[in-house]
Every structure is written in C-alpha cells, then in structure tokens.
C-alpha cells in the first residue's frame, strides 16, 4: 500500500521553499498517516537532510502541511527547471510506502 491509496496532495511554493499539503481522505486515514508520515520520512523520500522538513498537523480539517526548505533552488524566479514552482513535485509524496 502507498500513500496514494489513502490521501491527496496539494503543492504550493514560497520563494525557495516547497509547501505540500497532505490530505488523508477520512478520519481513520488521518490517524494512520499522522503516525506514519513524519517530517523525517518525508525528508528521506525527497533526499533531503532531516532538518529540512517541518510538519504542522491540522486536526480540524484532518490534514497536514509539510514545509520543505530550500528545495526549489532559486524558486520560480531563479531556477531554470522546467517547473520552477515545483508544482509537480508534491505527487512524488504519494508514492511513499505505507505498511
């Protein structure tokens, strides 16, 4: 089972930082994802140092926000990547294995 089976993502950017909202599809999935998808696991999944990712839980809307610092290398205005905003990058999170 992977995260894609129980959750959705929405990706945004702010300067150099990628902001991924992870939205489990029901309350049970929210509990499960909260326990399994830590900031450290997200950092590993994106090949980042452990301190580069911060997680904020949003229980009232059963969702969470991951703040990935510095991954966009100049952001939309300074990066030459095709997708300078990193809008496509959030979907990589959904391939994370869930036990």
């Amino acid at each position: 089972m992977i995260l894609d089976d129980v959750a959705d993502v929405r990706t945004g950017d702010k300067g150099d930082d990628l902001i991924i909202a992870l939205l489990p599809r029901d309350a049970e999935a929210y509990e499960r994802v909260t326990a399994a998808v830590t900031a450290q696991r997200v950092a590993e999944h994106y090949g980042l140092p452990p301190g580069a990712v911060r997680r904020v839980l949003m229980p009232t809307v059963t969702a969470m926000v991951f703040h990935l610092r510095g991954v966009l290398g100049g952001g939309v205005t300074g990066s030459s990547y095709l997708d300078g905003h990193g809008k496509t990058m959030g979907y990589h999170l959904l391939s994370l294995p869930l036990d």
Binding site: R10, G12, A21, L23, R25, H45, M58, V61, G74, V76
Partner: protein, 457 residues
C-alpha cells in the same frame, strides 16, 4: 427579533495574471455580486511590469486588465458591483487611463468612477534607506546586479481609502492578494484595524477565494480519487460574508466545477507554510482551527479563523537584474531513447564548457519523461525496468549574458546533425530574468494615495 445582519457577496474574477475571463463574466452576470475581485499579480509580475514601464511610460500594468474589465463592465454597472483589482501592477495610473479610454469608446449610459491607488512603488525609498535583503542579509546596494523594482505589499487600509470615494472600479498595484477581499468587508462593516479576530476571519475568506478556480475544482481534479464535473466550464467562487465575519463560500450551480469541503480544505492549506501565522499587511491570520461545514449544494460554511497583531513593517518585493535563461529541447524516441537523450545532454554540457566557457554546474539537464520533475528525489524514476517510448531532453541555465543563453539554445538545436541518432522537434527560448528578493520597510515610509476620476458618458 433582531434586524438581519448586514451581508455582502464578494466574487473571484481572476486568480492570476493569465487566468480565464469567461468565468468572471458568468459570475458578474448571474452572481448577484457586491464586489468582483481581479487578483492578477505574482512574485514576478510586478517586476516584469516595471521593466516594461521603463521602456514605455504608458505600460507596466497587467496586459489583460482592460480586456477583463471590458468583458464584465456592462454587468457590474447594471448590478452596482464594485470591481477591485491589483492589475494596475507597476503602473496603476496608466491602467486607469487605459480603462477610461476603453469605457469612453464603449459609450456608457452613466458616469463611471475609477479610483487608482499609488504608493506601493518604493524603489526610491529603498535605494535611500538601503535595507537588508532577507535572503542574503546584506544591504540592497551590495547586491551584485541592478535593482529594477521595489514594491511594498500594501494592505486593505489603502484600498478602503479608495472605496470611500464610492468608485465603480478600484485599480491598485502591489496590494496583497487577500487584502483585495478584506478591504470591501472593512469598508462595508466598519471593522476596526485592531480587531484581529474579524480581520483574521476576513483574511481567511480572501485566502480561499484569491486563486479563483482553485476553490472550485481547478488544481484539484484527479481522475478517480477526485472527480470534478464540467472542468472546461469551471466556475469561479464567491463568498457571502456577514458583519460578524461568518462566511459561506459557494459557486453558481449553472457553471462547471465543484465546491465542497474537500476543495475548501485543499485551498485553505495552499502555499501556507505556517497555518498558525499567515502574515499579510493587515493581520497575522491563524487558520489552525478552521472548520468547514456543508450547508447546501455548492455551499460551505467557514468557521474558526482568527488572528493576532499585524507585522510592524511591510514586506517589499525587490526585483534585481538576474541574467538570462537559455533553454533548448529535443525529443528522442524508441529503443535506447533514454541513452541517446542522456548522451545528447552530455554533449551539450561539454560544449557549453569547452566552446562557450560556461561551467557545467550552471546548467540543468532534464530528461523529461523519466521522472525529472522530481529533481533527483530517491525513487523518482520508478522501476528501472520501465521502457520509456519517448524522452524530451531539456538543457537550461540562468547565465550572465544573453550570448551565453543563446548558446544553450543553439547547442541543443545543432544536435540535429551533430548529435545522437533520431533527435527531433528542437525548440529553444531565451528570456531575461528578474530575480525576486524581499526586504522590510516601516509602514511610515510607505504612503499611498487615491486618485479618483469620473468617465462621463
């Protein structure tokens, strides 16, 4: 029995500079709106506008602004809907001139009042004060390239001053996105600038609406997990806001798209890195206890937003000369497509170094179709056993000179006859880059002015 609490309806007419126009027309015609908001600026847009304005003093505002207003004006005048926009971008006065000109040509049956808001352009002040750049912690003057633009994020207070002139259209420059929505609420309900609870609630509504179609199924639709009907006719959202800050967001049932609790929770968290402290010029909003409740078809109630004191200083968006982006692309298909594309990329990078003197670490090579969007994250490629039928090679770099950027495009194109077998469909572009940075400026150093004019029939 109490008197019915005052309520206004605020509609989203655009969520970015390149947004569609027809959903705004539909909302203006059938939405029974009090206010229609066109949010047209991104981090790059104002700086790009300043560059255009330097070449032509009559330019620098959003190129689509006149078309947007022209498309809805018949309906907004008929219903008494006030238009509020930041599409004045780098030149709100020229934008007001252009809109006035369009209105005169249209021939109106009543006078139209346009209020333009200036004062967000703080380039002279920034040069004089020379504050620290957030990203480098060095003064603006120590930046290696020229400062092209400096625009302060102005808040709802500047827009409220314009609304007090009873305009049909308010045209501002770098007004913060949620402030465009908050200003009508402050104006209509007389909210105090220190009532952080109400300002937080209004800012939450503004944040939900500011990306327009992203609340109604756009950027959400994902076949299977998140289906949305009528995406090609996606309607834009509106909010019914009451004087106590309570709000219901909705969309027209006649339009395509979807507005429900799921679309609302996604948009609530969009581009919000700290839901406890969403900073605007008006308030530090707190979204951490927001809840959504379905109250009808395509209607969702928003509760629980609050706020704390606004920041002392204003954020200023700085645009610096940032060199040139050069890019070239080429396709490879069939057996060994990936190997040939990779080889082609290696050839370009080597020649950029040996022939054009561009170091290889300033170039980016993407093999589009192999998971390159994930920028080398572990496992981005998926299984190595996957056979990929076609690959798009893309080589790019942000470089010091236009000639170097041209060389990237040229070296990829020259692969046609000099590169690996079967390369096709070469394309390339060269564009000037404005690098965006930020700084702080005290509120006292930013003085905004309202310029009101009336276009006679």
């Amino acid at each position: 029995m109490g008197v019915k609490m005052k309520q206004i309806r605020v509609g989203a007419g655009a969520g970015f500079a390149g947004d569609r126009i027809d959903p705004a027309v539909e909302l203006a015609q059938y939405g029974d709106l009090d206010y229609l908001i066109f949010e047209c600026l991104g981090e790059r847009t104002v700086a790009a506008g300043q560059v255009r304005r330097r070449e032509d003093p009559r330019a620098g505002y959003d190129p689509l602004l006149v078309a947007r207003i022209g498309a809805v004006i018949e309906h907004t005048l008929a219903t008494g809907t006030t238009i509020v926009t930041n599409g004045g971008s780098a030149n709100p006065l020229a934008a007001a001139d252009a809109v006035a000109e369009m209105l005169r040509e249209r021939g109106l049956d009543r006078p139209v009042r346009i209020a333009a808001v200036t004062g967000d352009d703080v380039a002279d002040t920034i040069r004089a004060i020379d504050p620290l750049v957030w990203e480098t912690q060095e003064p603006v003057s120590a930046h290696g390239t020229d400062l092209l633009s400096a625009n302060a994020y102005i808040g709802a207070d500047s827009l409220v001053a314009a609304l007090e002139q009873d305009p049909d259209i308010v045209i501002a420059g770098r007004a913060a996105d949620p402030s465009l929505y908050l200003a009508p609420m402050i104006h209509e309900f007389g909210w105090s600038s220190t009532d952080v609870e109400l300002l937080g609630k209004g800012t939450c509504v503004g944040h939900l609406l500011e990306c327009a179609g992203q609340l109604t199924g756009g950027y959400f639709f994902d076949p299977g997990p998140k289906d949305v009907p009528g995406l090609a006719r996606l309607g834009f959202p509106f909010a019914d806001v009451s004087a106590d800050g309570s709000a219901v967001v909705g969309k027209l049932e006649r339009s395509g798209g979807l507005l429900d609790v799921r679309t609302c929770r996604e948009q609530l968290l969009y581009e919000v890195h700290d839901p406890h402290g969403y900073i605007t010029p008006d308030v530090t909003a707190d979204f951490s206890r927001v809840e959504f409740t379905t109250v009808g078809p395509e209607r969702v109630r928003v509760t629980g937003a609050s706020g704390t004191q606004r920041p002392t200083d204003l954020k200023v968006s700085l645009g610096f000369q940032g060199g040139w982006t050069g890019e070239g692309q080429m396709s490879y298909a069939g057996p060994r497509a990936e190997e040939r594309a990779r080889l082609a990329g290696d050839v370009v990078v080597e020649r950029m170094h040996t022939v054009h003197g561009v170091p290889s670490d300033s170039l980016t090579v993407e093999l589009i179709g192999t998971g390159s969007a994930f920028r080398g994250a572990p496992g981005a490629r998926g299984s190595e056993d996957i056979t990929i039928p076609e690959i798009r090679l893309r080589v790019s770099g942000v470089l010091g000179t236009r000639a170097q950027a041209e060389a990237v495009r040229w070296e990829v194109e020259s692969l046609y006859t000099n590169g690996p077998a079967g390369g096709g469909g070469a394309r390339g572009t060269v564009t000037e880059v404005v690098a965006i940075r930020a700084a702080s400026l005290s509120r006292e150093a930013v003085e905004t002015t309202v310029h009101t004019r009336e276009v006679q029939p």
